[in-house]
């Protein structure tokens, strides 16, 4: 119970701070927008091409912008050593991770859903009929990105080359998230949409494995 109450308090703080500063959501959304618009003008894809390559492009844009967001997540705690204050205050350090990955998932999901409509317009793809299914895929994919990214952000924030280390570690590790997310999105954007449970299953398995690993070993990631 203490874990959940601490997580709720910290999540509230993360959301409150973000709504006051708009740092993460603005950066992430603007970056996604630039990538989507630039690719649209560069390739000028037809509707069929968009359905073929659009999902891959969309998830790459999500991944790159997520790495920007995740970078800041633990770096911000270094400024005034607030991470130490949190570690002294919470019973279970997993609450710190849980709150951060929940906040990151929410911010990422919000940015993704807003940009989904921009994608629909620029790439001439209909997303409304499969919107609830897309939300499910985006949620599972974002959770995978946030879980892995939050853990790696804690590690990279203590390293010497912290600014470049996170993307280098994150990209290869997220291949198992990128492929099923792209394939599941692609199946939903086809002329005959289908929810691919096999790909969703892989996403769920990835999320469960990384969440469990974070719960078991997260404490060590925060140590000096």
């Amino acid at each position: 119970m203490k874990l959940l109450s601490n997580t709720a308090v910290l999540l509230r703080k993360e959301v409150h701070a973000e709504f006051r500063s708009h740092e993460l959501l603005t950066t992430t959304s603007v970056f996604m927008l630039i990538v989507i618009v630039l690719f649209s003008f560069t390739f000028d894809p037809t509707s069929a091409e968009s359905r073929q390559f659009g999902p891959g492009l969309l998830w790459l844009a999500f991944l790159f912008s997520a790495s920007l967001m995740l970078q800041a997540c633990f770096l911000r705690e270094r400024t005034n050593d607030t991470l130490s204050a949190l570690r002294l205050a919470v019973n279970d350090p997993f609450a710190i991770f849980l709150a951060k990955l929940c906040a990151n998932t929410i911010f990422l999901l919000v940015a993704e859903l807003v940009l989904l409509f921009v994608f629909a317009v620029f790439y001439n793809v209909s997303v409304f009929p499969v919107f609830p299914q897309l939300v499910l895929v985006f949620f599972l994919g974002s959770l995978g990105i946030s879980t892995t990214g939050t853990a790696l952000s804690a590690v990279s924030s203590q390293a010497r080359m912290r600014e470049v280390l996170l993307p280098l570690l994150l990209m290869p590790l997220l291949v198992p998230v990128l492929i099923p997310s792209t394939e599941a999105t692609k199946a939903l954007l086809e002329t005959e949409p289908a929810l691919r449970w096999d790909w969703l299953g892989i996403l769920v398995a990835f999320d469960v494995v990384f969440l469990t690993a974070l719960w078991l070993f997260g404490e060590y990631l925060l140590e000096e």
Binding site: K2, S5, N6, V9, L10, K13, H16, A17, R20, S21, T79, N80, D81, T82, S84, A85, L86, R87, L88, A89, V90, E223, E224
Partner: protein
């Protein structure tokens, strides 16, 4: 002449005294470092250090930059795990977790939150029953009530330090670890800090503070110890005088 220093007999050294004050504040835990060693790669920050601090004692730790003072406090606060050795808290019952208030070089506060929000946040995390009331009381004690709703980023160094001390006092800790709390403070803030530490010491809390040289703050200590290259080289408990402990750095 150490006007404010308490004689050892006045300090809360017995368990009975510790029990008496624990009704008001967190039980004043002592600290016992046994052969503590901390390495960062090949660098030794602490070298098989033995140090015992009694419950209720007020200790000034001094030493050059890089002598291991901060590392020792971080080990004491359990933020850093020692490479070797053991840390225990005399004065606590078996299984009891010490309530530790830690003030470090950094303010350990969120600048994008207000003073009130910061204290309430940490109060809630610590499980304090009425975090709003506790935050208001501490803001009053630190003369920050008028700035309660101001963002911490708008605060002066002195105000930030006062708020950092308020955060450390949220759970009324019996053990206070202060890492150079007077750094960067003006005369007025230094006077406030000295009075506050004086009051906290008289309430029977165990206080370990890192200081550079003799000051009004260090004069509050009932004991002084000097670290050098991660080892304890002088301690008033083992016969050194306060003057010797502090003068060693000037040699």
């Amino acid at each position: 002449m150490r006007r404010n220093a308490r004689a050892p007999s006045e300090s809360c050294e017995t368990w009975c005294e510790a029990d008496a004050v624990s009704e008001r504040i967190g039980r004043p835990a002592g600290l016992k470092f046994t052969k503590i060693e901390k390495r960062f790669g090949s660098l030794y920050a602490l070298r098989r250090l033995d140090l015992e601090i009694a419950p209720g004692e007020c200790v000034a730790l001094t030493g050059r930059n890089g002598s291991g003072k901060t590392t020792l406090l971080r080990v004491a606060s359990q933020l850093t795990r020692p490479t070797r050795g053991e840390l225990t808290f005399p004065g606590l019952k078996a299984g009891e977790v010490p309530a530790i208030g830690y003030v470090s070089h950094a303010i350990m506060l969120y600048e994008e939150l207000t003073a009130e929000e910061n204290l309430q946040l940490f109060g809630r995390l610590l499980g304090i029953a009425e975090p709003e009331k506790r935050a208001a009381k501490l803001l009053e004690e630190t003369s920050l009530t008028v700035r309660a709703k101001s963002l911490v980023r708008t605060f002066s160094r002195g105000m930030k330090q006062r708020l950092a001390i308020a955060r450390a006092l949220l759970q009324d800790p019996g053990l206070l670890l202060l890492d150079e709390p007077g750094t960067g403070l003006d005369t007025e803030s230094t006077a406030w800090l000295t009075n506050t530490v004086h009051r906290l010491r008289d309430e029977g809390r165990t206080i370990v503070m890192c200081v550079h040289g003799e000051s009004a703050l260090s004069q509050l200590a009932s004991r002084a110890a000097r670290l050098d290259a991660g080892a304890l080289i002088a301690d008033t408990r083992t016969g050194a005088t306060f003057q010797t402990v502090f003068a060693m750095g000037e040699a």
